[in-house]
């Protein structure tokens, strides 16, 4: 047990000054730097989301013209995907808690870890430059030949930004794989690892294998633009659909880079707040790896009407169905974990339940979209927009928020205001459904996505959706207040406020510079509530 003198020293006051942060090799401090960065990007991306919804409140132009709208839509997508959701969980919460979960002092390569943060910053800077100075309006998908023929070099710069940020992702992935293999505490086999680690590990493999494809695509785009070599532009003898294959070969696994670690967090939250052993540990662990493996072979389900062959469509549709099975297994396991538990409705648990609610809807609509004949109608309509927001926001963002509240006492040694956190959840959860559920109906009725203007028949539901976006904004503002208020005025947190069993709760809050006062030794599974 640690003495009082030990406890006054922690990673936050171990060194002082901005320089000590910018040059830190401590995974916890790097995690906090990611937290600040990602929250800032989320704020910018969120403002664009609100502007988009405001523009769509009525038919016709409200605040911008069509080109302005197309830029806003590009900003929102690119920022949220590349700068918020992809680094959100692995680089921020993963960085902070992977070593703590494993009982390690740090990640395997602390310097590489710091470098990955700088990659994100440099990549983000390039992307922001391309977005604001070059006025890119290609959508975050950069489909050719529009992205080659229609815009300045902005699209190339934006892909370059994504490429540099991709290195951040690759380096983090490498670090996590090495850490998981080499730095587990004595007594911790693979099946004694918390499920968040399994989620991060599967994600890391995806990051390492899929992200380089984005780099290759960039190289081809740049060669086409600067040297006139025809890869994608039909005027030069290229094939525009080839680009979609390359793009989704990265971007579909990227979807699982976003959701797998979120699923890991949910496993932690459900067990901790049900105070019960997880149901089907191995099923959840292996389904993470299974989803990661199959996710490489489903990219063509974005392309059923793109002109790819029917045979390809059939294979991709079938493989997509296979991804559905492990996803369904996880969901059932989480609900089963609550059976005969002792469930406490603290805000992290509310977010976990919110995740299950929204992710289930996102999941079943995902199956609908995987059915070819139905996808023909829904493809590129608001149905798809609603579906991926239910999965990405309803899934990943809910998990991030739940994770932040769950680990807030550990990260900062202080408690947040529980009532305000629950109020924030209420606004976000209700607002989210008000915003995005009507979009399923709009899509079924045939409203295409990426539309600056729409037919008058679509107006009422668009108005409902816009009002919902204001509720979400209020919810996140309250959430920001909860975090700042907790940092400034929060009561001192005990070492283990939730009574959870994973290793990070065995050290002091906040943890010391080297994580543990003495090397923990593992004798059982991570969720031994008995």
């Amino acid at each position: 047990m640690s003495s009082a003198a030990d406890k006054s020293k922690n990673y936050l006051n171990h060194e002082k000054g901005l320089w000590s942060w910018l040059t830190t090799l401590d995974h916890k401090r790097i995690g906090i730097m990611y937290m600040i960065t990602v929250m800032l990007f989320f704020l910018i991306g969120g403002i664009f989301a609100l502007l988009i919804r405001f523009e769509l409140f009525s038919t016709g132009g409200q605040i911008v013209d069509a080109d302005g709208y197309n830029r806003m839509m590009t900003f929102h997508g690119a920022i949220m995907v590349f700068m918020v959701i992809i680094p959100g969980i692995p680089a921020f919460l993963g960085n902070f808690f992977l070593p703590l979960h494993l009982g390690a002092k740090d990640v395997a390569f602390p310097k590489v870890n710091l470098m990955s943060w700088y990659c994100l910053i440099i990549g983000a800077a390039i992307s922001f430059f391309s977005l604001f100075a070059e006025k890119v309006a290609t959508g975050w998908t950069f489909y050719t030949p529009y992205s080659i023929s229609e815009t300045s070099n902005g699209a190339i710069l934006l892909v370059l930004g994504a490429f540099v940020m991709g290195f951040s992702s690759i380096l983090t992935g490498l670090n996590f794989v090495a850490t998981t293999h080499r730095l587990r505490a004595p007594g911790m086999g693979f099946f004694q690892m918390p499920l968040f680690v399994w989620g991060l590990y599967s994600t890391a493999i995806l990051q390492i294998i899929a992200t380089p494809v984005l780099a290759i695509t960039l190289l081809l785009l740049a060669a086409e633009k600067t040297m006139g070599i025809g890869f994608f532009d039909p005027k030069l003898g290229g094939d525009p659909v080839l680009f979609q294959h390359f793009f989704w070969f990265y971007s579909h696994p990227a979807v699982y880079i976003m959701i797998l670690p979120a699923m890991g967090i949910i496993s932690e939250l459900i067990t901790a707040f049900s105070r019960k052993v997880i149901f089907g540990y191995k099923a959840i662990a292996f389904s993470s790896v299974g989803i990661a493996a199959v996710s490489f072979f489903v990219w063509g389900h974005h392309m059923f009407v793109s002109g790819q062959s029917q045979v390809a469509g059939v294979i991709f549709s079938f493989l997509t169905m296979l991804v559905g099975v492990p996803t369904a297994i996880k969901t059932f396991n989480w609900v089963a974990t609550m059976y005969k538990g002792s469930i406490q409705f603290q805000s992290p648990m509310l977010y976990a339940m919110g995740f299950l609610f929204l992710f289930t809807i996102g999941g079943v609509t995902g199956v609908m979209l995987a059915v070819m004949a139905v996808d023909v109608h829904f493809h590129d309509t608001y149905f798809v927009v609603a579906h991926f927001h239910y999965v990405m926001v309803g899934g990943t963002l809910m998990a991030i928020m739940g994770g932040i509240y769950y680990w807030f006492p550990k990260m900062f040694g202080k408690m947040y205001n529980e009532f305000m956190a629950q109020l924030s959840f209420l606004f976000i959860f209700v607002g989210f459904n008000v915003t995005f559920f009507p979009q399923f109906i709009l899509g079924a009725q045939g409203m295409p996505r990426r539309y600056f203007d729409y037919l008058p028949a679509f107006e009422p539901l668009n108005r409902v959706s816009t009002v919902g976006s204001w509720l979400i904004a209020i919810g996140f503002l309250i959430g920001l207040y909860v975090i700042i208020n907790g940092l400034l005025k929060g009561k001192k947190a005990p070492d283990n406020p939730w009574g959870a069993k994973t290793l990070e709760w065995q050290t002091s809050s906040p943890p010391p510079h080297t994580n543990f006062h003495e090397q923990p030794v593992v004798t059982g599974g991570p969720y031994e509530f008995r």
Binding site: V241, Y339, K340, S342
Partner: protein
């Protein structure tokens, strides 16, 4: 029940059923919808039920230790797997039909460009932004693009296909209901993406025959011809007022002095208008440096060109 869309009355989630594919797609959608609803009720209902039933009572509650249950886990893996296989095969069957056009289908060529749709019939008849087809006749659209990707989507027919520069794609359907139906572009294509609309007019076979024989401009004055051409092809980018849309508004354009980007000026006369339609980038006006308009060379007849010029003269 809103998915059994027989009456198309008012508030249905899906648009009216107006093609041979609509009913089968909607039936499959209905199956998916109800199985999804049941799954959601089971999962979310279970979640809410457990949450309240097993709410924490004391700080030292003992919980059950249930690490796994092989039978349960097998069942909830296997049952979804079977359902997934069923909907996969069902969706494939309909998709296969969608991709197998009958050999005797009436073929119409479709060309997408920023930002309108052109339609060319075998007789040489061309239309823009709307096209007319006979009811209960298989129609095959052979589609290409002049510039970037577009996608041809008719919600009421439940068909959609990307249109790709440099190659042909096609889709087919049989319209089963008379009336006008919306065509949307569903692949992002820039400024005018959301105004790249068209109408498909489904008429009786007799009405189609007489439409095909009639000259659309018969009995019209030149400026009326121009007005028709405008409504089909210019309206996506030009207003009839003097307000800029994507290109300049047309009112007051005729005879005005245009400032060009090279510093010179030119009067908007017949020759200038003609050149602006056939070779839009030859003279770039100040304020329109990006020159997004594509050439209409070969796509408008002499009669239509003269008509547009005469129509512009009437817009003061």
């Amino acid at each position: 029940m809103f998915w059994v869309n027989k009456a198309h009355a008012g508030n249905t989630f899906m648009p009216p059923q107006a093609s041979n594919f609509a009913e089968s797609v909607d039936t499959l959608y209905g199956f998916l919808y109800y199985s999804s609803l049941i799954s959601c009720i089971l999962v979310i209902g279970g979640l809410v039920y457990f949450a309240f039933k097993y709410k924490r009572k004391t700080a030292s509650d003992k919980t059950a230790y249930i690490p796994h249950n092989a039978l349960l886990e097998f069942l909830w893996s296997f049952i979804p797997f079977v359902i997934f296989l069923v909907v996969f095969a069902w969706g494939w069957k309909i998709f296969y039909d969608m991709r197998s056009a009958p050999k005797d289908a009436l073929e119409i060529h479709v060309v997408g460009q920023k930002w309108n749709w052109d339609f060319v019939y075998k007789s040489g008849r061309k239309t823009s932004s709307e096209f007319t087809i006979p009811i209960n006749t298989p129609i095959k659209l052979i589609m290409g693009s002049r510039d970037v990707l577009h996608s041809f989507f008719v919600p009421s027919f439940r068909v959609k296909q990307d249109v790709i520069p440099g190659r042909y794609t096609s889709l087919w359907f049989t319209a089963t209901k008379e009336g006008n139906f919306n065509v949307f572009c569903t692949e992002y294509c820039g400024t005018g993406h959301s105004t790249m609309l068209a109408k498909v007019k489904v008429v009786s076979k007799a009405a189609y025959e007489s439409w095909l024989e009639n000259n659309p401009y018969k009995g019209l004055t030149l400026s009326e011809v121009g007005q028709k051409v405008y409504a089909g092809r210019c309206i996506a980018c030009h207003n009839v007022t003097n307000v800029k849309k994507i290109g300049p508004g047309f009112a007051g354009l005729w005879g005005s002095e245009r400032k060009l980007t090279d510093g010179s000026t030119v009067v908007a006369d017949e020759a200038y208008i003609r050149e602006s339609i056939l070779n839009p980038n030859a003279k770039k006006s100040v304020g329109y440096e990006e020159a997004v308009m594509t050439s209409f060379q070969g796509q408008v007849s002499e009669e239509e060109l003269t008509g547009v010029i005469e129509y512009l003269k009437t817009l003061k």
